[in-house]
Symmetry: C2
Subunit: 350 residues, 2 copies
DNA sequence: GGGTACTGTGGGAGCGCTCCCACTTGTGAT
DNA sequence: ATCACAAGTGGGAGCGCTCCCACAGTACCC
């Protein structure tokens, strides 16, 4: 069985060969493969048959070169590698992004930038026109990466606003409503003196959670004593410190809303040391619904963020943004902000 | 400031422009950029200056198309996503692979195939000539993936032989020597009745660890009682079961070598229930040096595999293999098998 | 002096696509 | 019948590279 013709790429069929087989021109095959509507049904069927018979798979590089695109997006995580693997947050995001990209020809590049050297490499890399867009996750407020990307003119979607006026396209959980829901839940359980332990208030999300706390109390016409608010920093030690303060200032408190599970864990320790039972004396609610929430004693009521869904949404937005920048676009005015609802997971601590 | 000329790719300079700037031909710039030695020093300097001035970065797609390659390799993990994130093994491998690829133009594609549908997608993807090689990690003996890759003629490196006669290029830890070292250590501590809990013996690595155990005993002229060998399956429950058996068959044993830390943890539980102290009554050694080894009570002596180094070595091998298949190759006869030494991490359990 | 061998260099051809323009038909309005 | 216009199609040009052949220049040997 001799096959006279064989192209360079090891026998892989090209567009041209498919065209010959189907008895049509190159352009037509291209249209079919790319799902253009301007092809008659019979021609389309003939081409599709040829594609299957020959086992044709488009050459990525040729397509990318001709169309001046990369067919790839990067998921950039400005975080040390160890944290990337330690936090379930990232695996959830990755799963969501992966799911959204699954039905696409888009390739996902995972980029973990742990230091400034790697940040420089990434910048150089992106300048080389190797991705069509960037998904930015877990960015600190002072990171120069977003500005850098904006400078390159690369479509970018960020997870979690960095401020109220986030210039980049973003998706975020509804931190305000989540916090409000947590406090409402506490009030519904009959608690009246509800304290809160906040995250670092230079982080926008922490600010939102505090706002939600305030809104809930205000709506219920409850005591809005500032002594019930203890600022911390998202760490366990911070949670301990804040809880200690709170107990000193308002020994009569009967509930605590912590802006993260980790801080709630710190608070729990102090509560135990001081002989306050949970939820008997003090009800406790956290935020994030992380693994530790399930493993605490008693298990912690917590506000769950739809992380995977956030990842999926980010990818969708980015895809839309990329499509919008392409010449022959079905210019769809992609949304540039998406807020996803949170969910209160009730457990024994409240 | 009007710039008369602007190419399609948004002002990114091309080879041609660099050539014009440096006053040389296209070929010469290509040679410089690709590190060919056949360029005079002065020409090279001129070109390099032009590259820097223009901020030239080669267009990946064009290069891939012209050179008929992908400039990317895939790290394929046939495992459900949750396990990928749960096991530190993968993050270590990834770190090693990343390190080896860092100095390269090679892009790393992380592919987690959790089921047969995804396996099919991967096959189609790879058929599309999108990677130059594949790194295969954590493959079960009955997985069809390796054969599939071999069929595609893709350079492939696997971590851990699947059998003694592994046809693919592989890198593996020295399981035999690791096990032997563990048992030697136990003997040096004065133990004489040393049992072992094996992994699934259809896994080649488990077989090797058992061999190492046997070799160590044989070399010392010690009791090679088959009743001291309890087969298990790498799980904690299996470790418990095996330990229970062992205690029934040889209540006089004074040491146990488990072929994984997880099984050692199971054994530890049974030992505690039966009132045997560790290491007082029974010394315990595990394998893998995983997180749980450090967190056990007492901390577990364990055989450490150089996982990150294995990842690095895999990437090196793959790169060499790919280079060997390229036409104008410095045909270097890349090694196709690498065995890396293990290391005994001594802790309080022995 | 003419060969022979290098080293260094320029540039044509071509990789497999997409884009777009030109062309052929078919359809309906005039 | 004529024109206008859409739908459907073929194929040229060109994306930015690499490969390779041709050729100039220099060096060395008989």
């Amino acid at each position: 069985m001799t096959r006279g013709f064989r192209n360079r790429s090891g026998g892989r069929p090209t567009l041209e060969e498919v065209a010959a087989r189907a008895g049509v021109g190159r352009g037509t095959v291209s249209r079919v493969v790319n799902g253009s509507p301007r092809v008659s049904d019979e021609t389309r069927a003939a081409v599709e048959a040829a594609v299957v018979e020959l086992g044709y798979v488009p050459n990525r590089a040729a397509r990318a070169l001709a169309a001046n695109r990369a067919d790839a997006v990067a998921l950039v995580v400005p975080e040390v590698e160890s944290r990337f693997f330690a936090e379930p947050y990232f695996s959830d995001i990755l799963r969501g992004v992966g799911a959204a990209l699954d039905s696409t020809e888009m390739q996902l590049l995972l980029t973990i930038v742990g230091n400034d050297r790697e940040r420089g490499r990434l910048a150089h890399y992106l300048a080389g026109h190797r991705v069509d867009g960037v998904l930015l996750v877990s960015v600190r407020a002072d990171d120069p990466l977003p500005e850098l990307l904006a400078g390159l003119g690369l479509p970018t979607v960020i997870s979690g606003r960095r401020s109220e006026r986030e210039p980049l396209a973003w998706v975020d959980a509804d931190n305000v409503a989540g916090a409000r829901g947590a406090v409402d839940h506490l009030m519904a359980r009959g608690r009246r003196t509800i304290a809160t332990i906040t995250g670092r208030l230079d982080v926008y999300g922490a600010q939102c959670r505090l706002d939600g706390y305030r809104q809930a109390l205000a709506a219920a016409g409850l005591d809005a004593d500032e002594r019930l608010i203890a600022p911390a920093d998202f760490t366990e030690a911070g949670g301990r410190r804040a809880m200690t303060e709170l107990l000193e200032r308002r020994p009569d408190l009967d509930a605590v809303f912590a802006a993260s599970d980790v801080m709630a864990a710190g608070a729990r320790q102090v509560l135990r040391e001081r002989g306050r039972s949970v939820p008997g004396d003090v009800a406790l609610v956290g935020f994030d619904d992380s693994v530790i929430a399930r493993h605490m004693d008693p298990p912690l009521t917590s506000v769950r963020q739809p992380i995977e869904e956030m990842g999926r949404e980010m990818a969708r937005m980015l895809l839309a943004e990329i499509a919008d920048r392409r010449p022959a676009g079905t210019r769809s005015i992609a949304p540039r902000q998406v807020v996803l609802p949170t969910e209160l997971v009730t457990r024994a601590s409240s």
